[in-house]
Subunit: 138 residues, 4 copies
């Protein structure tokens, strides 16, 4: 099943423990693009005083949004092969992440994602390569 609307994306996010713990919700879906809302939670912060979201959390957001962007146009389960994340500015509070397909081939797709602070500052961005699993996604 294609995950090409907000409702389908949100049902999928509910089937993933970590994404559920992060409290991710889809707020936009276009062909090849998704946007997720990321609420603040203290356990995701990197220090007791600085109030930055941990870089590993930002990587998880990029992985998730990049994968779901592919699922808006490809009806196959995908597995992340590799990912690059660039950190641009401190991430604080509630965030948004936008994923977008760069290129989808027959067995591999590449997509990118952009994490923003609430004030629109780009906190992190990255790209990942995904492999399509043989069976269509249930």
């Amino acid at each position: 099943m294609l995950l090409n609307d907000v409702a389908a994306l949100n049902r999928r996010l509910q089937h993933n423990h970590f994404q559920q713990w992060l409290g991710l919700t889809a707020v936009d879906a276009q062909p090849g693009e998704v946007e997720l809302h990321v609420p603040w939670r203290q356990e995701t912060e990197s220090s007791h005083d600085g109030h930055f979201v941990h870089g590993g959390i930002l990587a998880a957001l990029i992985d998730t949004a990049a994968a779901l962007a592919i699922r808006t146009i490809i009806d196959r389960s995908v597995r992340t092969l590799d990912m690059r994340v660039d950190y641009h500015a401190a991430a604080r509070g509630a965030l948004s992440v936008r994923g977008k397909v760069i290129k989808a081939g027959r067995t591999i797709a590449t997509s990118e994602a952009w994490v923003y602070n609430a004030d629109g500052v780009l906190a992190a961005s990255g790209r990942a390569a995904f492999f399509f699993l043989a069976s269509p996604d249930p």
Copy 2:
């Protein structure tokens, strides 16, 4: 302060909300190398049935171990500039992650990290570049 023994590393891990939530503990420290133990917790899993640890968690482990490896030899706070993660096999249950410095310059260092399942299978690996902050780490 250099974090060049297991006790110093574990004190540092306690000052980070997300690393504390992950339950990370240092189990080895050598000059330019660290090893962390990662207990299993259900919230880090990627699906309700597959019991895989989420790729974003593996990225967080690589970021953390790669950064701490630098802190065994460099007495400066470091900020992650960018990271690459490769996913090799499903990660399940308790894990270990080993970080190792590739090259430390005057303001930038690069290190790598390797995430293993309890049976020794390599689940993920990666590398990251770090920038040294101006002030010595408190």
Copy 3:
């Protein structure tokens, strides 16, 4: 000196043996963006029969365009810290590469670049992080 027009970019490309050998010429310059033309030459190909441009050449194009995009807005020499390249389709014949700044900070900038075949097919894309050298560029 900022390299913020096609003439300044082309003068700079002439001061680099490898970029000169590649025959690169700037064809567009905007604040934070450049486009280069890449003529075909047989020595850049990957095999004697397939007529693909070698992936290392595409990496060189991405590195070059990503660096020059920064030089349109930052008057400092830059050194590449690291780069990621994704290969999407075979590159053949004359190519174009477009570089664009993602984020420029005080000492580090990140930019991306996109390599196209003459028919507009995306052959490769990537991103790189750059460090600003202390002295202004002569």
Copy 4:
């Protein structure tokens, strides 16, 4: 055919225009590992005065050595999916590059490579993911 000795690797390097132009020769082959010698040539330098080898050339070396390392143990043509390169120090003169397999799966393999100056200084390192083409390599 596996390329599991120096002679087989050198025959393969001869079938690639760009690798031939670079003058690459295999000097060591182990299961999952290769080492190549890289002669100096002026056209690969980055500037008219600094005498640094261009970062794109180092990327080409990493791509080539990482791919050939796989070919010592996998009898399939491989295509580079993506690559990361880290630049550690200026590369000057004749170089050597050593490639090593990180993990080989059924359709994807990841390997790393390390570029050294003649004095043993690590100039660059990186890793790449490769896809196995369907047909065995002729």
